[in-house]
Symmetry: C2
Subunit: 285 residues, 2 copies
Amino acid sequence: MNVFIIGIGLIGGSMAKDIKRLYPHSTIYGIDSNPSHLEEAMALDLIDVKASYDDLDKANVVIVSIPVDGIVTEIPKILEEINEECVVFDAGSTKATLCKGLEDHPKRRNFLACHPIAGTEFSGPSAAIDQLFQGKTNIICEIEKTAFKLQEKALELFQQMGMRIRYMNPEAHDKHIAYVSHLSHISSFMLGKTVIEKEKNERDIFDMAGSGFESTVRLAKSSPAMWTPIFKQNKENVIETLEEYIQNLEDFRQLLLEDDYRGIYNEMNNTNKIKKILKGIPLNK
Amino acid sequence: MNVFIIGIGLIGGSMAKDIKRLYPHSTIYGIDSNPSHLEEAMALDLIDVKASYDDLDKANVVIVSIPVDGIVTEIPKILEEINEECVVFDAGSTKATLCKGLEDHPKRRNFLACHPIAGTEFSGPSAAIDQLFQGKTNIICEIEKTAFKLQEKALELFQQMGMRIRYMNPEAHDKHIAYVSHLSHISSFMLGKTVIEKEKNERDIFDMAGSGFESTVRLAKSSPAMWTPIFKQNKENVIETLEEYIQNLEDFRQLLLEDDYRGIYNEMNNTNKIKKILKGIPLNK
């Protein structure tokens, strides 16, 4: 099996690790706009061959794991190069713009729109993790637009990687993911900013911050190059979630100003039920 | 050594575990307003004896690890009961109200105001952790108001537990801790609230949420009974940090509305330096 991975970072690199383990006779071709990432992926033995779009005609599977602005512009070009039996899938955090852009593509049936909910705040080939996808959800959009045999091929790979599959339409995906992923990143980045701005003497933060702070600002380490196009493509949903979040913070502030501590207790107590929800989220080992 | 622990939860219970290990000949007396916590602490072997304030005259060390409203009302009473050689310290997340309230107490010199920056989102005796305080910062306020010999006694204990000591005045403590701890909790609780409100079908959250979401809302599992009095006692600082945080979120929203993606990139890129700061925070093993 010839597997092409376009974008050898955290997600592409982790897929490479799984595929090498699950399909030892496969050959993994790497394509990356950053030559040093490609060198690093070779050195880390994530890929077997450095490749280019000219080699795509021999691909059986193409995985596109690049920032979402690149996904939208590159997938039409990739589809032009592949053979009829090849399946192409992405791993981007937005789906509506991509699916809309591909709806009239002559090779639409070779593409499967995917979003594996997996990752860390790190990026690049060295961030790749063994069995990253074990127990994680992979959201697939517009499954019916992909050729049946190519659906089967991709689903077998996902199953071998241990993923749980969930089907959604692209608009529902983008709306829900704004709440459970995109908003968390903004909340974390702005929390980090608020503290850094105030605490110019970084030694003070370092000494007084505990694991709770670390947890809430962990996502503020994420890559701006990856996240800027996500916010751009999902602008409307993100603004809606952000406005609701700001309103809830305003309400909390108002309770404090009014010394309504019973109200504050109730706000926290009602939100404690998040415990039950969080229990179901698989974490990286 | 007779050690009394008032409030056998995460912090008191973890202190008990350390003291049992470090001072095997000590006797640990537990006092808790919740009888089932006291039973649980006995069953978990955190304490040796169930006690009451009437027994406090035989204490060498008293650790007060209860919510901060209780700390303010109980410590004056506890100081009345202890002998002259006994040191009493607390572990509360606010310091100004407490220190102000005790400034004219006849036994002020028997008290040491402490805030060990350690813990998890869990509470109760079963949440106690071995060596929780190893490598963690303990902030001590108004050290000069504690009798020298009693300072020494407490500091030896903290050193044995592996804590790093930092001295601050109570007002500076409350101001800085609002940024690196109290604000994180509000941000997390309100993020949890925003998502729960929107996603009435909890199955959707569960399936689409990843480890990033888990990390940012982890603190929303925290105890409302512990956190309500913290927000009350540190109201002014908390409101200030909250207003700055809301303003930063508003600014981010404005950049999105204006399609200023270069601005959004820069916001995230500037905040990425939090990486360097977070590297220094000791996490629980």
